[in-house]
């Protein structure tokens, strides 16, 4: 079963990246050079520059937001929405097929 993240950027360009279970959505993007995810802090929940919007029907596959992530989301460069998450907190699971959109800017 493949594990795939579909990244759509603010212009609508879609990049489908095969991921490894256990990696985060942020790591998968950064390692493959997907633009739109900066992740200055490397995933230690310190910078809020890996903000993504998750397609609504995918939200239920994800772990709930912890308080620290929730607070960090109030500081993103593009305002948070109902479906906002920090992609460093989203771990890929076997067979996951996840659709996310990256904001116009992260800083």
């Amino acid at each position: 079963m493949t594990t795939t993240v579909h990244y759509t950027d603010a212009e609508g360009t879609v990049r489908d990246i095969e991921g490894r279970p256990g990696d985060s959505v942020m790591e998968t993007a950064v390692r493959n050079g997907v633009p739109g995810i900066v992740a200055e802090c490397g995933g230690s929940l310190s910078c809020a520059t890996c903000h993504v919007f998750v397609r609504d029907d995918c939200l239920s596959e994800l772990p709930p937001i912890e308080p620290m992530e929730d607070e960090m989301l109030y500081g993103t460069a593009v305002d948070r929405e109902e479906n906002s998450r920090l992609s460093c907190q989203l771990k890929l699971t076997e067979g996951m097929d996840l659709y996310v959109t990256t904001p116009e800017t992260q800083v």
């Binding site: 390692r31 050079g33 802090c41 230690s44 310190s46 910078c47 500081g75």
Partner: protein
Amino acid sequence: MASDNAAPTGLLIIGASQSGVQLAISLRALGFEEHITLLGEENHRPYQRPALSKEWLQGEVGNESLIFRSAEYWDEHNVTLVKDQRITEIRKNPDGSGVAVAESGAEFPFKRLALTVGARARKLAVDGADLAGVVYLRNADDALALKAMVGDATDIVVIGGGFIGLEAASSLKKMGKNVVLLEHGPRLVGRAVGEATAEYFLDAHRSRGLDIRLGARISRFVPAATHDGGKAVSGVEVTVGGGTAAGGAAGEGTGAEGTAAEVIPAQIVLVGIGVIPNTELAEQMGLAVDNGIVVDSHALASDGTTVAVGDCANMPNPVPGSPAGERIRLESVNNAIEHAKVAAYSLMGRREDYAGIPWFWSNQADLKLQIAGLSMGFDQTVVRRDDERGKFSVLYYRKGRIIAADCVNAPLDFMAVKNALAKRQNIPADTAEAAAAVADPAVQLKTLAV
């Protein structure tokens, strides 16, 4: 190897850590078409350092998580990675081209040169400094060596109460070790945060059970014979006191009043007492050097063609509105990234001044410190403290304007100050009423920015 490489690379980047990697990435994003060689002296693919003292040391993330980019990324972007080559000499022409010569004899001809050579750990010169078990934590090899030793150790002494020392001490304590942290100065994190934050960290770490001794004078590392005839460290001889927290002048030689020398047992001594910028290549090239490679606001060194980026560079203070002529050397991921972007513009022939709000983070046990801005030159502070929720922030002001904040487990405060600084807004605290509002943790800082 590269010695018979007839065609010079378009850009040779010496140093394959955060700033070197970012420079290559930013140049490709800007449309730089020349071939790039990214050269590192370590025998590892380019990797991120911050987790080495934190999540990686504790085994929460694996080696692969630290790697910046997949090998395919570099291939696709026409970047050649060179590992395990230490450059010892650079011969440069006035037009910016030249040849870099490695210790191995390999030569790397280039059209343009970037120095992203970073900094190295400052060594502690006392008797026993070369004993086995005395380690530093700057790069992956240091971290691998430390991790390999940790399993057998019960007692670890950490020397230095800065970020690295506190992060590593917290990590090692969490891993079940007896940890004693020795700090030479009268308080923790001497250079990076203000007094109130330093005190908060001292209390917080002590209440979490970390044994911290301030005003510590290390006299020697005590050896023990090992099976193979070599010498390993068995303890640290230290005198504590003299320059107490209250005694402002805690300089050398004032420790005479301290307690008698004590030997603290340790199978590992981890030293984290700051870094020294790697300026030897720049000096050899005749570039201006002064606590780092001197660069202008476009990351250009004194020859006008070489760029120098990140920890190794001494640059004009990038904070908008900072005093004219003020220069600074910043050791942070954020600076490595932002400075590399400016250098990339320079190499493309564009002149973008480096202007930004520096920020820093440090995770220690369950304490998440986030610093926005630079607090040097402050003349007023306001403390926001919510002990019930474990949040603590200090806001720094200069002449009535906010310039920085230290925030512990308070991302909302951090974000509010960082955003206010970026937008050139103030969070006024110039009247008793205004200061009271800033100090009230029930008031969201964001709502006070004007």
